[in-house]
Symmetry: C2
Subunit: 387 residues, 2 copies
Amino acid sequence: MKKIALLGATGSVGASTLDVLANHPEKFTLSTFSFYNNIQKAREIIQDFSPQLVACGFLEQAMQLKREFPKITFTSGMEGLIQAAVFEEVDIVLTAITGSIGLKPTLKAIEARKDIALANKETLVMAGKWIMEKVHEYGVKLLPVDSEHSAIFQCLQGQDAKALKNLIITASGGSFRDKTRAELVNVTVDETLNHPNWSMGKKITIDSSTMVNKGLEVIEAHFLFNVPYENIQVILHRQSIVHSMVEFKDGAYIAQLGASDMREPILYALTYPKREVMIAPKAFDLAQINTLQFEQMDFNRFPLIALAYEVGKKGGSFPTVYNAANEIVANAFIARKISYLAIEEYVIKAVNEHQEMQELNLEKIIEIDLATRRKVTKWIKEMEEKL
Amino acid sequence: MKKIALLGATGSVGASTLDVLANHPEKFTLSTFSFYNNIQKAREIIQDFSPQLVACGFLEQAMQLKREFPKITFTSGMEGLIQAAVFEEVDIVLTAITGSIGLKPTLKAIEARKDIALANKETLVMAGKWIMEKVHEYGVKLLPVDSEHSAIFQCLQGQDAKALKNLIITASGGSFRDKTRAELVNVTVDETLNHPNWSMGKKITIDSSTMVNKGLEVIEAHFLFNVPYENIQVILHRQSIVHSMVEFKDGAYIAQLGASDMREPILYALTYPKREVMIAPKAFDLAQINTLQFEQMDFNRFPLIALAYEVGKKGGSFPTVYNAANEIVANAFIARKISYLAIEEYVIKAVNEHQEMQELNLEKIIEIDLATRRKVTKWIKEMEEKL
């Protein structure tokens, strides 16, 4: 029986994870979970899975739920999140929180020698160097949950790592893949949230349309697989059937494919190196799908993927700034405070203005992350005041 | 330095193998090779690779070459082929002979504890059960060279074998994939030899158009990977880019893809589990290829693939009969003795008339193979005499 901590249980990846756990009660126990805001969903999860510890976003929620479920321990805030991440009986922590808030609990979980199923790509983007050092120091497994990274991880199993040539990450192209830049001027939040292939959270769907999501994935892949940026390629693949692939020096490509179903990489991360039967799988018939297309990524059409390579190659805290700025502006766009193209504008501005600190360490990275957020938030406020 | 015996050096797979060896002189030595008929090519190979032993098809060739290359040992006939297969210093025997003549030398090589790089699929089709028993008994590696089986073998590396669901073999569809059965009545040998994707030997190109080649591959896969026929699927894939794939119970598919270049699976078989750099690789750019298509196999259009499953499931000597009959009729078609559709007719007739022997063993299998050849040859002669 594998004991799971699920951080971010009420989001999209959280829901898929709970479905996986519910389908394999003989394999998995949900020992603890966290949620931010959705107390009603949290209540249902408690009833369905009877966890021992629940980390709430806010103290009031913890107090409310304690009255309803007196036998369960409730905590709240960042401290509560960390308590869930290091909960003693837990074997593996699935980090499904969106954004840089995932960094600290992930770090603490590694230090508590928990294996990590990583769905929070911001953790590696912000602080990949330090996280990977910790992973090696504490000898834990860091298992990717992102479908692209899970695909690459699956493709690399049993292969000659020395003969690896390129990682090839597929990109659906997002909601606006067929729009020119001129057509992007007046797009709305609702249009942006209409992803062609995947049903995901709001922020990641926005990031998918700006290609920031793919940029974050490139940086994540760099750290996760220890591959130089020159050997990480992005290819447009509208159908999202091939989840990613690897190329070897002998000319062979190994690809992982399947339905657009997050339960698959989640199940794999939780059972690795074994595979379990997927209960009620999404229908998948390649002959019926019939056509898979592949196209070159257009780095002029999507400047933020070009910028991701740039910040990645610069290294240090540049990816941190890229990610922090994007998190603020993507959420500002969702809150209808800025236009779609302003997302790009502010991210580029934040990166351009950034000056690298000397003798970087994890504390300074967290400082830079916060400073970037404050700065970009201020820009947006100033712009709103002008209007 | 890996020491290679190459059986069938002057054919198509032989030529690809020699190219691989020539490109990696620091890795491979050609210790010995065999050829059947093409003495001029044999001469060139001797000059390029300086082998110690050469097995000729006929005694006269051996005597002729001995005069030209007095320091090299020459042998001939089946005995010579076996001498090459068991040549003492050899590490791995690549069997690139076409047809059932490959069986005996392969068996002898296994008994001499040589690893086998198997490009001769007829060996497993004829006598898969007995070959696999020998492989396990003598503890040798049996490495597939067929691009489809190499692909499956590559996809299975590092994966949870217990979670395997299906093998999915891709089929280009051959020269006549877009012709109806009615349109097949008057097709010529030259039309049949015009394969859309692969440049191969004549017999295999004919077999590809009748889907017998895919049928043989299904039977080969059954023995090689120990998978029931119910879990071996064939899918039409015109571009021959995805060389084959495997499906797991968790919904994941792993596929191997790349250029249509036989040097790739050959190099992999010779370096497994490592991979070496492919020198002068064929150009391969998925974004330029752009479209991969997958379609259901039409078992009515291609009755000989349906028959392959049937003989495979019946087991015993039925695949032997299927293969032997096809070998005779495919060559009769190449020799312009029978019409294209007569290939199907005679193979079906041979299988239908076959009655299984009791207490089958390898000797009986070889007898049945020969008896089938005699019988089908007689049918063709009788038909010719009637005309």
